[in-house]
Symmetry: C2
Subunit: 225 residues, 2 copies
DNA sequence: CTTGTGCCAAATGTGCACAATTTGTATAAC
DNA sequence: GTTATACAAATTGTGCACATTTGGCACAAG
């Protein structure tokens, strides 16, 4: 079967996105090969593909690691978010319609519901999905793809630098952006978007280092029985 | 030596960017391996890397091709350019200084000089480099990288769809954007940037199909004697 | 002359074995 | 006790041989 590779690719990518794979974790080729029951060469190709997308980092002759973003990386990624979303919002106001606004409202409802029942994992996931929804609304696959790479990296930063007691308070800020969009208020939407990313960035504790490595076999154990 | 791969990578990427590799051209692995004097596996890895960056297209069991962008691709890429550069300009106005403006002026001078002596190849190259310079001025490697991928694809579109007699008139439009930046006129800069990409897009002849394939060996013959 | 079928050549995909590099450890010298 | 060196184990990198798939060509039937 040809799409087994795709399944493994998604499994690893999701593990990074959901923070199950901690920064700094080493991913040895033959260990992954044994876990997923495929040859080492298959794994190899996947890892290089993920590295090309900046989701993993390959150090020659050393191995493949979950990237441990530096403070400079944090600044860079969140600035990229700010710049990128400014462009998205400016374009979005040119083609905003009821269908898009309804989708945004529905998403905000999901976010509120997850926050209401204290589901932190869902909140984190939906928080990223909000920005993806904004971009996807433009219907431009190229822009969506770039944002996906950015999100993959910023979710790593949250899991590395975010203090454990942090409250996920982003829902209101997301709602503010949607409100500004509904009112066709470009300046406010741009300002709120910028501030939103700056808030997330400032909430990070850049002195705090990463945690210990996880058990790979246990991590990927949730596969069809 | 480890950086031989990098050299070959750049050679192929540049060949696409400069339009020496026409859309639709097939890149057979063993043929490239013979041309560059390396093993087929080396080439293989490079091609997959270029494919991950959307610079080449790999069809499973069929081979590797220079992408032949569809009309929908053209719309998508130029919209991505418009959205992306809007964000770039908005951020650039927040950190614009004399050093950046001088670099932009110097670039415009280069463009005018190339246009003056009718050097079409240089004009095309500098035209792309202008937008890259705008983005590079933000000092954000992630944004620069994305733009490079976009440029790689749009240069293909120009070489496929642009009618031969087209005049490279972009210098004035570039100068207009710089002037608006210098005057801190955000609205004008955004408008000129959008219109600029729309002009390029509209100049393309979307009915015109691609040309014939080139001779690979001759194409890559310009290597150290 | 067009269409359908089967075979052959060529190109890509994959696994294996071996080479090269790095890291950790043990030992010895200072 | 610290440092340096050498060796060993483990991990990644590479080339080769073989399997698989595809596209074209020939040939025959309608």
């Amino acid at each position: 079967m040809a799409s087994a590779d795709e399944a493994i690719y998604r499994e690893i990518a999701d593990a990074i996105l959901q923070g199950r794979l901690k920064a700094g974790t080493k991913l040895p080729e033959h260990k992954l090969a044994a876990i997923f029951g495929v040859s080492r060469e298959r794994i190899r190709k996947l890892l290089h593909r993920l590295a090309a997308e900046r989701r993993l980092e390959i150090i020659p002759n050393r191995g493949c690691f979950v990237p441990r973003p530096s403070v400079a990386d944090v600044r860079m990624i969140y600035e990229a978010h700010r710049v990128f979303e400014a462009g998205v919002i400016e374009q979005l106001l040119r083609r905003l319609d009821d269908r898009i606004l309804q989708a945004l409202d529905a998403h905000l409802a999901q976010e509120r519901e997850a926050a209401g029942r204290g589901d932190r994992a869902a909140s984190v996931r939906l928080s990223g999905a909000f920005h993806l929804l904004l971009t996807d609304s433009l219907g431009n696959a190229e822009l969506s793809r770039f944002l996906r790479e950015l999100l993959s990296r910023s979710s790593l930063m949250v899991s590395v630098y975010e203090p454990a007691q942090s409250s996920v308070c982003a829902v209101d800020e997301h709602a503010g952006i949607v409100q500004a969009l509904r009112q066709r208020d470009l300046a406010t939407a741009l300002r709120l978007s910028r501030e939103h990313f700056t808030h997330i960035e400032n909430r990070l504790n850049l002195e705090h280092a990463g945690g210990p490595d996880a058990d790979l076999a246990a991590l990927f154990a949730s596969r069809e029985p």
